[in-house]
């Protein structure tokens, strides 16, 4: 468990260092994600890697435990709304309506594009 957590933190640390050193506009944790993915893919090719946190479902079970409670992690930032109550009192209704409409439009546009693109591609594959 501790070794698995250390591996996850280590990947993030490398990600943060890389992002800052190379000054690229990518979040450090996303680079960490790619690094951990590379390690997991590398393990398939080099079985020698399957030890410590990368063996015996170690990093997998730690990650699943964290993702099972992903909602929890947004609460501290969410409570930050209390700092902005005055601004919400001024423009609150407009902001809520705008965000609600925008999120619905975005959901529909994205899901429709995904479905349309994937059916176009599979239709293309059906043809000889």
């Amino acid at each position: 468990m501790i070794a698995s957590l250390s591996l996850i933190l280590f990947c993030q640390l490398i990600g943060e260092v890389a992002v800052r050193e190379l000054a690229v506009p990518v979040p450090g944790p996303v680079v960490g994600l790619m690094l951990l993915l590379l390690l997991l893919l590398g393990r398939d090719r080099f079985p020698a890697l399957a030890r410590g946190p990368l063996g015996n479902d170690g990093v997998e079970s730690a990650s699943r435990a964290m993702l099972a409670n992903l909602s929890l992690l947004f609460i501290p930032a969410g409570v930050g709304v209390v700092q902005k109550l005055d601004l919400l009192a001024d423009h609150g209704v407009a902001i809520l309506v705008i965000l609600a409409v925008s999120v619905i439009v975005t959901l529909l546009a994205t899901v429709a594009t995904f479905v349309a693109a994937s059916s176009l591609i599979s239709r293309g594959e059906d043809k000889p």
Binding site: L36, L67, L73, P76, A100, S102, L107, L108, A109, F114
Partner: protein, 240 residues
């Protein structure tokens, strides 16, 4: 025992222990209710934890800074949780590789829609320029959105609030909306949740279906990358 219960409160209310406990306890209850209602969209654990804790802070006149001193230990885990997305991504890699093209197209359309729709609506409502700029990056995860907002000289804390509100509304609306459209492809549904409602949408997607969660996580990560490039462009073109 302390002879003055008020002095005990003064001590506790300043300690990280109390606010960390309040955060975990409130979430544990909200999550149990959400499970009891079989993950009903309106029983969203983020929504209910946020307003319950918010009211508690207002009633006890506790500042957000004091609260955050305890809650930061939870907040910190957002980074590692992003790294942890590598695991479901790895386990579903074949499905993901097979859907690369629809993902790229949907990412482009979804990301542009998220930014352009909010900017145009905010202009139509006649909101002040700095509010429009603060709302523009609202569909990406809080850390990245605040960075974008800062680079535009907008208000990062308003951005954080709009990010959270977007995430909560997206997480509530996604399941009924998708059921209404009759789309049953959980890859597409999850991907849309991740584009529109970042991590809170992803948390919701994982509650509904693991494949949806994986695609939502990918969408959220990719959207964070390209929104950082698109928002400054959209602002130059649309906001004068």
């Amino acid at each position: 025992m302390s002879d003055n219960p008020f002095s005990l409160w003064v001590y506790l209310s300043q300690s990280p222990l109390l606010w960390l406990t309040v955060t975990l306890l409130t979430y544990a209850v909200a999550d149990a209710v959400s499970l009891k209602t079989r993950r009903h969209p309106l029983a969203n654990p983020v929504l209910h934890s946020v307003w319950i804790i918010g009211v508690f802070l207002l009633v006890t006149k506790t500042s957000y800074t004091t609260y955050f001193a305890g809650a930061q230990f939870v907040h910190f885990l957002l980074g590692p949780a992003t790294v942890a997305l590598a695991v479901p991504l790895y386990e579903n890699r074949r499905r993901v590789v097979a859907a690369i093209l629809p993902m790229v197209v949907a990412l482009a359309v979804g990301s542009i829609t998220a930014i352009v729709s909010v900017v145009l609506l905010a202009k139509a409502f006649g909101l002040p320029r700095d509010v429009i700029l603060s709302l523009a990056p609202k569909s990406v995860t809080a850390g990245v959105a605040m960075g974008i907002s800062e680079s535009l000289h907008a208000d990062p804390s308003l951005t954080a609030v709009s990010v959270i509100l977007t995430g909560i509304m997206g997480a509530i609306v996604v399941t009924p909306l998708m059921n209404f459209t009759g789309i049953t492809d959980y890859r597409a549904r999850g991907f849309a949740a991740g584009i529109a409602a970042h991590g809170i949408g992803t948390a919701r997607a994982f509650q509904v279906d693991e494949v949806a969660g994986v695609f939502s996580g990918i969408a959220m990560s990719l959207n964070a990358l390209i929104t950082a490039l698109l928002v400054p462009l959209a602002v130059t073109l649309l906001v004068h």
